[in-house]
Structure formats: structure tokens, C-alpha cells
Amino acid sequence: MTDKKYLMIVDHEVFSTSRPSYEPPAMKLITDLILKGIHIELEEVLDCGTREFHRTGERVFDGIILYLSSKSDLLWNEETMNLKIKKTPSSKVIDLRGKQLKDCISKLKGALKPASNSINVLKQELIKSVELGSNLRAEMIFKVLSTTDIFDKKEAIHSLSNVSKSNPLLMRFVLFLDSHPNEEQIILPSKDVIQNIKIKKKLVGLALMNSSISVDKFNLIIKENDDEMMGLRSLFLSSKSIFSANTFLSINKGKDIMSPDELSAFIRAYWAEDSQLLEHWSSIDKMNINAWEMLTRLHWNQNLKAECFRLSTIGLKYHPNDPNLLRRKAHGKREEGKHDEAIEIELMLLDTTNLSKLDTLIYLCRSLHAIKEWGHLLYYASLGLEINVENNELQAKKLIASEQQPTSESICPLQIVSEEIIAQPENTIPSNPQTPKEESKLQK
């Protein structure tokens, strides 16, 4: 039997950030309900009026609790709140306007469960909403969970920063936090460009909690480092989550924190050749493909092929369909002489990505040549020459294949045999074209 779910309809003040120190009375009730194991979600009364239900969507509830500051039901009643949409035939409406809170708790006695039940369900809902980009829903669940000490808000922000694509959402979460104990001691650089010093200090305080440095050390780096980029680098390397790292790198910027794309561009601009920093980045921001691509590319460019192969293999655990990582893994397999495995990867890249088809055919032909698969070599070399008839390498390989395999009986495409690596890429990622015959350095 599933746990009952309750919807509490509240005023905008519950979600407002304009009065940070004010706790709306509704929050006390939410805490009580959560601690009694009751699954509770919130909706802003205005969004009931517009029927948009931004925070609960099409969900229906076993009970609806009205907790509104207005005592009168002239403005908000079941009809104007469109409650019909949110109810099941057996749902009850508990109107708390002008009533004592204990009345509500007593009416919900039948629903009491251990607090961990509802908290765990809500935590899962929170992650799901963040991943889906349902920002208002995520904020609502965060708000509900925040009413209990069982939920670690700071830890949640750090972990959610790995899945959130929305900076405004993270900033909303930060606004719900209590101050860092040493917040006042934090020294910020370039105060003139920082619009909201209070929020910036809150962010830095939160970042420091997930880093290996203290407030004093942070202040020392800010005050005494003549080279700004060196200071930022130290801070970045001290961070234990991407949220901390991003906060540190955004310290001189007017905005709160950079978007994931801005962060990638920043690192690309200043530290594309810094293997220590890139390695740290990929370790704290595993789901960011840019981190893995830059890291593996650097190793390839430095001719550290075995390391490039190793890192690509790790990166593929988090981005199994990324064409560039797959290509680098294939390079590694070729280096090791494991041409069958390299061929499997290249065949997949041939069919499923927008990497240069000619490049893929050239790599494929090299492996086929190495294992003397003349019939297939002839087939794929011919395919490549249809794209570029003047390609010398393919011409030479086709000639060899023709000499070794004079009949056309075995000229046919290969089949991918390993199901493990057959996958469709989730996104189309621009390829990094390289000219195989020149093995040129990859572009930044």
C-alpha cells in the first residue's frame, strides 16, 4: 500500500526570498508533518488559481491542506483554487484558515509513518526534478526538506550541482541556507564588481565547507596572491565539488556563479594545458563531458597515448556514447595491437556519429590492414575513396587489398559483434577532426 500524499496550498511568502530572516508560519506546520512521516508537497495558491500548478504538475493528492494568511474564503475557495483537479474522489480538504495547527495534525493521525519514509521519497523526487529541469518543483521539494535537520542542505547543494543545469536554481537553494559560521571573516576581491556581497559570501562559505582550505587560508590566497590566476588555480584544486570549484572561479565575477558552459570556456581559455587541473576537474565534475574531452585531448597532444587511453576508458564510464572518447579508446586499442576491438569501435562511430566519416574509414582500414582482412579492407577503402578519391593512404591500401584478394567474393561490410558498445549517442557532439595520416595535434 502506497503512503498517502498531501498537498498544502500556501501563500507566495513561503517561496519568497525577499525577507531572508522571516520564516512564514506555514513552515512550522510543514516541519511537524514531515517529522511525522507525512509526504507533503506545496503549491502556491496563485498557481492554483491559474491552473498552472507549476510545482506539482498533474499530480493528485489524498488530502489537501489549505494554509493561507487570508482568513476569508472570498478570494480563495475550492472553486477559485481549482481543487477538483488535484483531488481523487476520496481526497479530503482540510481548511486551516483561522484554526489551530494541532487540529491539522490530529486529522492526519492515520497517516503517521517514520520520518525517513517521506524524506527519502522527497529526496528522490528532488533529484528527479533537478535532472528534468523542473526548477519550481525542485525548489519546492528543497524547501519542504529544508524544514528538517535530517536533510543536509549544504551537502545536497554540492551533490545537486553535478546534475543541475540551472544556476538560478542553485542560487535559490543557497538563499535558503543559514550563514556560514565565519562568513563575516571572508574577504572578497574586487568588491566593486560584486553586486550582492552577502550572497557571494554565503556562496564562498558554502564552497569552503567542501574544500580542503580554511577561511584563513582562503583570505590569504585572495590577499597575497599577486597572480590572480595562480590564486584561482589553488582554490580550484582545493575544491571537493564542482559547486565549490565554480564558486571560487567566479569570485571575481559580478554574477553569482558561472553556468556550466561558461565554466568550461573559462578553463579552456586558461588551463587547457594544465593536466593536474584538468584531472582534478574531471574528478569533481565527472558528468561534464568537456572535462574528459579536454583532459584526454591534452594527453594525446602530449603523446601520452597510454594515459589518454586510460583516461578515455574511465571517461566512457560516465559518457559511454561520447564519440571523441570512443575514438581515443580505439586509438589505445590500436596501440596495443587489439585491432578487433578497435574495429568494433570504429564501426560504431561510422554508423552513429558525426565524426568525419573519412577519418573513421581510414582508421578502420588501418586495423583491417594490420590483421590482413583483405576483403573488408577493399570494401572500406573503396567506401573512403568515394568520399575522397585522391586520398593516398586509401588508394595504397585498396591496391594492396586488391592484390591480396583478386576476387570480389568477400567484399562486404563488417557486422558489429559486441553488443556492449552499440549505443546511440544522446547528443550530437561536434567532432574534433583530425587527419589520421598526419596524426596532427587535436584542436583546443
Binding site: 519568497s16 525577499s18 496563485l46 498557481d47 491559474t50 507549476h54 535559490r172
Partner: protein
């Protein structure tokens, strides 16, 4: 009180009409994301609805609504030869806002009319787009008038989607009080009244204004012909005719509501200035002025008040609304009491009701106020 009752009796009227013209500007803040501003604005609008419905004195205001239209600029002229374009607003969470405004329109006795601030988009001290690459030799006067007309039309079209408004019968309140280029720092559009008439407007309710220079020299409600000149309504060619006498005009005429009561004594913006606050505190002195100077049309005397009731200053924690300030309530309670003691009906009307009455007194106004709007 007795002196005021005597004054009221001596006025020889049957009823005393109060109508309130609110500069209703509920749209504020940065709306780009999240919806906080949308909720806050909407909350206040709904609070306004809740607090004014059943209000003894302010349940029937005329809300001169400043509906927000989105202005964008381009570097090359559009099909109108202008660099400015107007479109309906559509920020995130706009539905929250329109929902609240619609509820006021549907669930109250308030009436919606039109309040337009165009000082930001036309030439003058407040023009916001001077930095654009305006073509060399372009004439502001010509382009401004056409631009204002497009702005008015865009406002009306969008406003009609959420509040009831008749395109050939609406009323106007000029932003920053500068009707028809009466203060060139604010408005340089000399054919504004002509344009308003063409677009279905009957009259303006911005006088007595915050700056006396813009006030008409005729200190009572009157009608004028459109005269395309700075403060054209005050020129002899405007043929100003006082309401109450049969005007019998063949041409469309524009109503200008003026009254011989100082601006400071018509406002209930109690946070507006010390002079206003003092006037409200001095309920006796203010009522004396109202009773002595309120214009009489037929058997009815009128007093028009105004305020900026949605200004956030009146909604901050612990602040008093315009319509609920003890000073304001005392003033109107006293007025009602004086009316009772004088056997004069105390009545609240909207602008439309005022106009209906004016036409009943002078039926020829029906013709003067008829507008033929080309769709």
C-alpha cells in the same frame, strides 16, 4: 461640522458625487526569470481586490490602468521608419499577473480606464532611446506622434484581452501630467488630443495636476476642440465650453475634467508629500474647500480624487494603503456625515457613470463624445 453642513445646504444640490481616479500601476520589478516578481505583483493586486471590495468609500474606483507594453529597439528603421517597436508583454509567469488583473475586472465594481506614460518613448527630458542611431535630419515631432499612436493602439489591443474596454469610448489619464505638449519636458506631441479622439478616447482626467503650468485656465469640467499646438486645449481656438450649458457642437469635442481644488487637496497619496499629508490631516479645511469649490452640474456636485494606490510604498510591511489611511477614512466619514446632515445624497460613481450623467444634463454631449474608430 455645523459650518460645513450649512455650506453644503447652501450649495443647493441633490447629491454630492465622489469619484476616484487611480493611477493604477501594479506592474513593477524585474520579470525575467523565476516568477517572484510576477507573484508579488499578483499578490498585491489580489490583496487590493480583497481590501477594496465592500470598502465603504473606495469599492468603486476608476482604475486608470497603466498596462505594460514591451518596447524594443532596433538599429535599422522598421516599416514605420522608426527604431522603436511595441509588442505585448510575455515574460515568464505573465499568466499570474493577468489572472490577478482579470479577477479585479470581474469581481469588483471598479472600472478600468487607460493610463499611459509615454515620456520614455517620445522626445523630452525622459526619453530613454537617445543613444540609438537616429537617421540624420529625422524630425522627432513627426515620428513621435506616429510612434505614440502605435503605442496607444498596442496598449489598447493588449489591455482589452484582460479587462473590459470599449475601443470607441474610453478615458485617459496622461502620465506625468503633460497633456498635448503642455509641458515640453515631458510631452512634445502637439496633436495628442486629436490622436486620442481618433482612437476612441472621450476625455482626460489628469487635472488639477502636480504642476500647475499644465492645468487648463478653465477651472471646471469642460470640453474642447482638438488644437494641434502646445497646450492647445487652453488656446481660444479650442473653444472651451463649460459642461452644464448645452454645447450643441457639431464637431467631436474632448472632455477635460478640471476642478477648482488645489492638487494637494485632491490627492489621497498620503505618502506623496507633506502638503498632501497635511491636507488630509486637516479634514475640516479640505472638506470646506471641496464643498465650496466642487463643480456643480445640474443638481449634482462633484469631487474627483486621485492616488497611486498600487505604489509599493503603500504595501510595505506596516504601511497604510491610500484607501485605508485613518486620515482618508476620517475625511470621507466626515463628508458622508455632512451629506447626511444636509439631506444631500453621498454617492460614489465611476467615470463612466459621471459621463452618463453629464450627457443626461446636456444631451448634445452624446454627439460631441461619439467616436468613429477605424478598426
Amino acid at each position: 461640522m455645523e459650518e460645513l453642513v450649512e455650506l453644503m445646504k447652501n450649495k443647493g444640490i441633490k447629491r454630492f458625487v465622489h469619484f476616484h481616479t487611480d493611477h493604477w500601476e501594479p506592474f513593477s520589478g524585474n520579470w525575467d526569470q523565476w516568477g517572484e516578481e510576477a507573484s508579488e505583483n499578483s499578490d498585491l493586486i489580489l490583496k487590493f481586490l480583497e481590501e477594496t471590495n465592500n470598502h465603504p468609500f473606495f469599492n468603486k474606483m476608476t482604475l486608470f490602468y497603466n498596462h505594460p507594453v514591451r518596447t524594443s529597439s532596433s538599429l535599422t528603421p522598421n516599416s514605420n521608419g522608426d527604431l522603436l517597436n511595441f509588442k505585448p508583454q510575455n515574460p515568464p509567469f505573465w499568466k499570474r499577473y493577468t489572472y490577478a488583473v482579470k479577477r479585479v475586472a470581474q469581481e469588483s465594481e471598479h472600472e478600468f480606464q487607460v493610463h499611459i506614460h509615454h515620456e520614455g518613448i517620445t522626445n523630452g527630458d525622459f526619453f530613454k532611446f537617445g543613444h540609438l542611431p537616429w537617421p540624420e535630419g529625422h524630425e522627432h515631432e513627426k515620428i513621435d506622434a506616429a510612434r505614440l499612436e502605435r503605442y496607444i493602439q498596442a496598449t489598447l489591443a493588449d489591455m482589452m484581452k484582460i479587462v473590459p474596454l470599449s475601443l470607441d469610448n474610453w478615458h485617459f489619464l496622461h502620465g506625468v501630467w503633460a497633456l498635448n505638449a503642455s509641458d515640453l519636458r515631458v510631452c512634445t506631441v502637439v496633436n495628442e488630443i486629436e490622436m486620442l479622439i481618433k482612437n476612441g478616447c472621450i476625455g482626460d482626467f489628469s487635472m488639477p495636476a502636480g504642476r500647475r503650468i499644465v492645468d487648463s485656465t478653465i477651472k471646471v469640467p469642460h470640453t474642447v476642440l482638438a488644437v494641434n499646438a502646445s497646450k492647445g486645449y487652453d488656446l481660444p481656438e479650442a473653444d472651451g465650453r463649460i459642461i452644464g450649458n448645452v454645447s450643441d457642437s457639431k464637431e467631436p469635442r474632448f472632455l477635460i475634467w478640471n476642478q477648482d481644488i488645489p492638487f494637494t487637496h485632491c490627492s489621497i497619496d498620503h505618502y506623496g508629500s507633506k502638503a498632501i499629508s497635511d491636507a488630509l490631516s486637516d479634514w475640516y479645511g479640505t472638506l470646506k474647500i471641496w464643498i465650496e469649490n466642487s463643480p456643480i452640474i445640474g443638481d449634482t456636485a462633484f469631487v474627483k480624487t486621485h492616488a497611486h494606490s498600487m505604489n509599493r510604498i503603500y504595501w510595505d510591511e506596516g504601511s497604510e494603503r491610500t484607501f485605508n489611511s485613518p486620515k482618508v477614512l476620517k475625511l470621507f466619514q466626515s463628508l458622508m456625515e455632512i451629506c447626511n446632515l444636509s439631506s444631500v445624497d453621498y454617492v460614489k460613481w465611476t467615470v463612466d457613470e459621471v459621463i452618463e450623467y453629464l450627457i443626461s444634463v446636456d444631451p448634445s454631449l452624446k454627439h460631441s463624445f461619439s467616436r468613429k474608430v477605424i478598426p
